[in-house]
């Protein structure tokens, strides 16, 4: 029995289905239950949340949590499916400290709201950037430029007139 099935046995109400993602056990979790599932995963001996990703499928968003256990050398992938209009899911940062930055990245680039996150602000792009670039409907036509203010803070603008050389 792999880790995903183990998780399903432990909390049958939370797990929608199990399967394999390439060669890693995969469990699709109800989005209300992700916090409990993340806690259970920790109890099961997984000690590393290696990455959180978000994917835009045009009709839905998926957030994928990749766990790894250094002791057992095992992988486990959790997945939640979110609706496309207002994607939001509970933050697991209270259980997994590393999720703080990983969720900020997912918020920054895919625009998924993590409720209960201690500090949900952009991590890679400067504040004031318009849109979330890894969304399929991101506007690639308007180019955004970053300039520096007096105190070295980033200012986002679309003209970049004090950055670009006049030709």
């Amino acid at each position: 029995m792999n880790a995903a099935e183990e998780l399903k046995q432990a909390m049958p109400a939370a797990v929608v289905s199990t399967g394999m993602l390439i060669d890693k056990p995969l469990a699709i979790i109800k989005k209300e239950e992700i916090l409990k599932a993340a806690g259970k995963v920790k109890e099961m001996g997984f000690d590393n949340l290696s990455v959180i990703t978000g994917i835009d499928y045009r009709d839905r968003f998926e957030v994928i949590y990749n766990f790894f256990s250094y002791k057992k050398k095992e992988n486990l992938v959790l997945k939640v499916v979110l609706d496309h209009e207002a994607p939001s899911v509970d933050s697991v940062a209270s259980i997994w400290k590393v999720a703080d930055w990983l969720e900020r990245e997912t918020y920054d680039l895919v625009g998924i709201k993590f409720t209960g996150h201690p500090n949900l602000v952009r991590i890679l792009l400067p504040d004031g950037w318009n849109g979330h670039p890894l969304r399929k409907d991101y506007d690639m036509e308007t180019e955004q430029f970053v300039t520096m203010g007096e105190d070295g803070e980033d200012i986002v603008s679309t003209d970049g007139s004090n950055l670009l050389r006049r030709r």
Partner: protein
């Protein structure tokens, strides 16, 4: 102590005032310098100010220590002993842009880094030159379709030499440096200020 005797016969008479045109020309000292140079058989070099100053400039180009992405790793290879940047007098990578007169833009210029790169360039003292290294700095390279990368560093600062490649081999890098030296050689020394172009 012996008393000093002065042989007055060896003292030349005070120079007489130049009268003829030839004497006046002699008096400027220019002819004397030329004659002295001939007598010294090559011990005096003649040069133009341009040549002399440019020789000083291209023989000790000091680059500023700045790298942006993978091309900067190649920059480290260029500075190592195997490729011997020291023979160009430019192994002294300065940690301060105030002391540098060459900037390698080595790597991807992201939108967020662009104002910093521009500021670094503006902090360098004139005269200064820029070599754009790699596809990223030249045009945006593999990231030309990206939302976050500037499409060529020449959008924000003037570039003297472009070196293509991803990353350019150290040989290409050295070739770019040689091209920049040629460029400096052919410039009037005031070219950077808009004088005698």
């Amino acid at each position: 102590m012996d008393s000093v005797t002065i042989d007055t016969t060896k003292i030349k008479p005070a120079k007489k005032k130049p009268e003829t045109a030839l004497e006046k020309l002699n008096d400027t000292g220019l002819i004397n310098t030329l004659l002295a140079a001939r007598e010294r058989e090559g011990m005096i070099l003649f040069s133009t100010v341009d040549q002399f100053i440019n020789w000083g400039r291209f023989s000790s180009l000091w680059p500023v220590t700045s790298g942006l992405a993978c091309c900067a790793i190649e920059m480290m290879a260029v500075t190592m002993a195997h490729h011997d940047l020291a023979r160009f007098g430019m192994e002294a990578f300065r940690a301060s842009p105030r002391q540098a007169d060459l900037m390698f833009v080595a790597g991807t210029v992201t939108k967020r880094m662009a104002p910093r790169v521009k500021q670094l360039y503006e902090m360098m003292a004139e005269p200064k030159w820029v070599i754009s290294i790699g596809s990223c700095a030249n045009t945006g390279g593999p990231y030309i379709e990206s939302y976050s990368v500037l499409k060529g560093v020449d959008n924000i600062i003037p570039v003297d030499v472009y070196v293509p490649g991803c990353p350019p081999r150290p040989e290409a890098w050295l070739y770019g440096i040689i091209q920049l030296r040629e460029k400096i050689k052919s410039q009037g020394y005031g070219a950077k200020w808009g004088l005698n172009k």
